[in-house]
Amino acid sequence: MTELSKLTIYEAREGLKSKTFSSVELTQSCLDSIAAAKVLNTFVHHTPELSLESANSSDLRIAKGEAPSMCGIPIGIKDLFCTKGIPSQAGSRILSGFIPEYESTITKQLWDSGAVMLGKLNMDEFAMGSSNETSVYGDVINPWKEKNNAKNLTPGGSSGGSAAAVAADLCLGATGTDTGGSIRQPAAFVGITGLKPTYGRCSRWGVVAFASSLDQAGPMTKSVTDAAIMLEAMAGHDPKDSTSANIPVPCFETFLTGDIRGKKIGIPKEYRIDGMPDEIEALWSDGITMLKAAGAKIVDISLPHTKYALPAYYVVAPAEASSNLARYDGVRFGHRAALSPGDGITEMYEKTRSEGFGEEVQRRIMIGTYVLSAGFYDAYYNRARKIRTLIKKDFEDAFSLGVEAILTPATPSAAFGLGEMKDVDPIAMYLNDIFTVPVNLAGLPGIAIPAGLDKKGLPLGLQLIGKPWEESELLNTAFALEQAIAFSDKPEKWW
């Protein structure tokens, strides 16, 4: 029954409710698909027994008529989430062997709502990367290929395993996290939907921290409706996260009417960057035309500090990372280096961190250390935080003009070949997040949806940015656009 894994969450929920199939059958179909797709390197920790056991208890709940929103739906979990009794390594060697004694709030909420765990998903080390090439588990391979070209492509990052697993129909949905675009960029690269909620909407408790003022988890799914269903299960106030917002979680699904008549959509001129491929330009114009046809009012807006978002991000995020990652010192958990005679505690720290962290993570820790060090704190870190204030104000100014959502491309290119960026300047890789990073700096919700294929046959995505806490409205606008685009392409199965 491998076909069942191709269903959306919405379709599967209907099938489970009408007893057309059981969660055990649905879950088995996903497990079979996962076993047949090892080459994609998406699932890195497998939990088949647990999966079938919880599918079975979901079936019992459904039989009793007490089926919560995600009851019996099999999903994958990014390796960044701590899951009790199941390895959680954040894609890093330094956490090898780490088995959490606790469950992250988000995954706990998902299991409480009946979701079935399929295993842990590959990702860039500590969520630092845009191509899933910094993972200790090795590269994830994008299920999509260029027409008549067998070369392996990146699924994007850092939630590359989540993106590839959903696109290849190995699971019905997956959790992702997004610090600078790590949900939206991979979603765009594999032709799925990825939602980064407002900062504070989903609890960060039990999610391995990268940059705490930017990190936000969200759903990666096959449709906007699925994103709405899954977000509701993930979101909510958590006393264990001091930045978690104590505001009600609406039933996002009920807002999906597709009616966006009269809604003001902003088009920021600063996102028209030099060297942007014509195809992305065309995709963006098509999106504008479709929203207009659906009755939205299109207005040109300006977000003047956009160009400073990336450099500001690459001060703030590494600064926070250097502090957050100080805890990996070989004392309390994870890897500890073998020591030579005479080595003291300083050598233990230095050797452990040198062996345990990959190149990109080391680079970011050191950048963060430098910008926070005495004499440079004001010049870099404080300046970047001031610019962050200005970037947020740009969005606030646009919203105060009545703009309710902003439409932009999701990425400046389609998926590129694995290894292609290996020898270039790290900055070239950072440019992948040029359209997504400002949204994290401003704490806003953003969603990427598939919008078409380029000439080579690869998916491209559009991004919609919403007002804080208005995921309902944002999802509805995305739903209207999704209906107009009617993207239905799937990668041709080669694995």
């Binding site: 450099p311 994870g334 020591l339 610019i387 900055i427 704490g443």
Partner: protein, 95 residues
């Protein structure tokens, strides 16, 4: 601002990451590249702009000062590379 080998060595030391001498020139070059990318930030007038402390305006939550957790030493030690008699064990710190 360009980073020389001496600064790179100092940063690695502060970050407690062992980098061998041969690795320092490459590290210095990469860090310099990233920092020069950040130089763009100097173009912006930030006079009278408050540095952001919290992206969503919220008050820090408070709770009653009372013990709400504890008694799980074995769970806390479960993942430690080395423990002794209920403590984390590390190489000798004091002479």
């Amino acid at each position: 601002m360009s980073i020389d080998v001496t600064t790179a060595r100092r940063v690695a030391k502060l970050a407690r990451i062992a980098v061998d001498e041969e690795g320092l020139p490459k590290l210095a070059k990469e860090l310099s590249g990233i920092l020069s990318f950040m130089e763009q930030l100097n173009e912006v007038d930030v006079d009278n702009v408050e540095p952001m402390t919290s992206v969503t305006p919220m008050e820090l939550k408070r709770r009653v000062d009372e013990v709400t957790d504890g008694g799980q030493a074995s769970a806390i030690l479960a993942n430690a590379p080395n423990t002794k008699e209920g403590f984390f064990a590390v190489p000798k710190v004091i002479e």
